[in-house]
């Protein structure tokens, strides 16, 4: 008899093999394909690795910046001052309505160029952070709603001061609630960062396409790119799910 754990591992490996075989079958069954040869990318390995690292660094910078911007946006859209509220709402609608790549290029030309921010990495991070801010705002909104009114009443009638309410009850719960969706948004940021290529940030996508124009190995280049993105995103997705499960236990 095999244990439950062994069964799961074997099944997973089997599923992986079937998936790989299926892709290989489609690829090799038709004559119009090129044989895969990754060797032409070997000389480019350092540049590609640097691009990969930059993707990670940009994503972390954008994560932090967009959390801050998202919280400010949350305060704006929930403001009692109508002008501020509408200001936030206009920004939300523009972002939710824009394709990311268009938004990035627009920010580059409307903010980066006039302000003479020559560092493309900085402009790119600003643009992506601005784009992510409304998504982060939604995370904060959802978290605030998840603390029910009864808890607020209970805190009051137990005699907590406002500081104590936030310090011991509200913020600890908020942190736990927002961490899973934040990890989810980080995956979104990593994927979105590939579009920074369009404003010339030398991240993973940009570096591999640069290499591609020299090696002419287009399929290999994109395959490599996919694998290198998945190396970052799959652990993030798994992490998000396990965090979600943990948080579900508390409620």
């Amino acid at each position: 008899m095999i244990s439950d754990r062994q069964n799961r591992i074997l099944s997973f490996v089997a599923a992986l093999l079937i998936f790989g075989l299926f892709i290989a079958l489609i690829y090799y069954a038709f004559p119009a394909r090129a044989d895969l040869d990754f060797s032409s990318y070997y000389p480019w390995r350092n540049i590609i690795f640097k691009g990969w690292l930059l993707t990670i660094v940009v994503s972390i910078i954008v994560l932090v910046a967009s959390i801050i911007l998202g919280f400010l946006l949350y305060l704006l859209t929930n403001s009692k001052i109508l002008v501020l509220k509408y200001l936030g709402a206009i920004f939300n609608e523009i972002v939710f309505g824009s394709p990311l790549v268009v938004f990035l290029v627009i920010v580059y030309y409307f903010i980066g160029v006039p302000l003479h921010i020559n560092n493309r990495l900085i402009v790119g991070s600003i643009a992506l952070s601005l784009y992510m801010a409304p998504y982060m705002k939604n995370v904060f909104e959802g978290a605030m709603e998840s603390i029910d009114d009864m808890q607020y009443q209970a805190m009051t009638v137990f005699g907590f001061t406002t500081y104590q309410k936030y310090r011991y009850i509200i913020i600890p719960q908020l942190l736990k609630i927002i961490i899973p969706p934040l990890a989810g948004n980080l995956t979104f940021i990593v994927k979105g960062s590939s579009l920074l290529n369009f404003i010339g940030v030398p991240e993973l996508y940009n570096q591999i396409t640069t290499a591609q124009s020299n090696t002419y190995a287009v399929v290999e280049g994109y395959t490599l790119m996919l694998i290198m993105y998945l190396i970052i995103t799959i652990p993030l997705i798994r992490l998000t799910r396990s965090l979600e499960k943990k948080v579900a236990l508390w409620n």
Binding site: Q151, T156, V157, F158, G159, Y168, Q173
Partner: protein, 240 residues
């Protein structure tokens, strides 16, 4: 405990919820407020616990004039148990109790732990001290809420229909906990639908209907109701 209310009125959205409530009760330790839905029972309880303020009138609970006292000061003297348990979901059972003792009542960590552990033991909840609310049944959570209410040694403990969210078996579990409080001479005011329980746990009954106190007195008014409203109410309740 002493409760004194003079011409208390409360309105929500132009609807009169409490109309000229007058009360003068001395030396009763268990008071039950009963009556049909919408009678204003919970509102009265919320005024007594200063969760809300009356539109007009005076309320005295023990030596406190609720128009004068700072709510934060008064909250330190009372306990409140809501309809559904309000355990903080991110904290363990033990921490739910000790947090309030440490932060609001200035106990040391050791004192707080001792008080909480003693009480949890007395109410047969010791095995759950490291669990969170999500790992407890509704009845257990509500019992922990009650323990949390009495941990601060309140002068009065208020219950707002503490079993309305529970099924009959869990209701019994919670009600026996409250009866235990009565044996310990804890002062409490409870809003409840459970008439048989009110009979057993309370010394004094306040019967409300349509925002007014229709009849009140010692528990025996449930045997010998004078008003038509209470007679109707009791006959409807016992019909089932």
């Amino acid at each position: 405990m002493e409760l004194k209310l003079h011409n208390v009125n409360k309105t929500y959205d132009e609807k009169d919820i409490l109309i000229d409530i007058n009360l003068d009760i001395h030396d009763e330790s268990g008071i039950a407020i009963i009556g049909p839905s919408g009678a204003g029972k919970s509102t009265l309880l919320r005024l007594l616990s200063l969760i809300e303020k009356p539109d007009s009138g005076e309320i005295h609970v023990n030596k406190y004039d609720l128009n004068e006292i700072e709510p934060e000061e008064y909250y330190k003297k009372i306990g409140f148990v809501f309809q559904a348990h309000t355990l903080f979901p991110h904290l363990t059972v033990l921490r739910n109790i000790t947090l309030i003792l440490e932060q609001v009542h200035n106990k040391t960590k050791e004192e707080a732990n001792k008080i909480a552990l003693d009480l949890l033991d007395r109410f047969e909840l010791s095995e759950h001290i490291h669990k969170r609310a999500s790992q407890l049944s509704g009845g257990q959570s509500q019992r922990v809420s009650i323990v949390r209410g009495i941990a601060i040694s309140p002068e009065v403990l208020f219950f707002d229909e503490p079993t309305s969210a529970l099924d009959p078996v869990l209701t019994q579990e919670v009600l026996s906990t409250i009866i235990k409080l009565r044996e310990e001479k804890m002062n409490f005011v409870i809003v409840t639908h459970e008439i048989l329980f009110a009979k057993k746990a309370a010394d004094f009954i306040i019967f409300m209907d349509c925002g007014k106190i229709v009849e009140m007195g010692h528990v025996d008014i449930l045997e010998n109701p004078q008003s038509k409203e209470l007679q109707n109410f009791l006959s409807n309740v016992f019909l089932w």
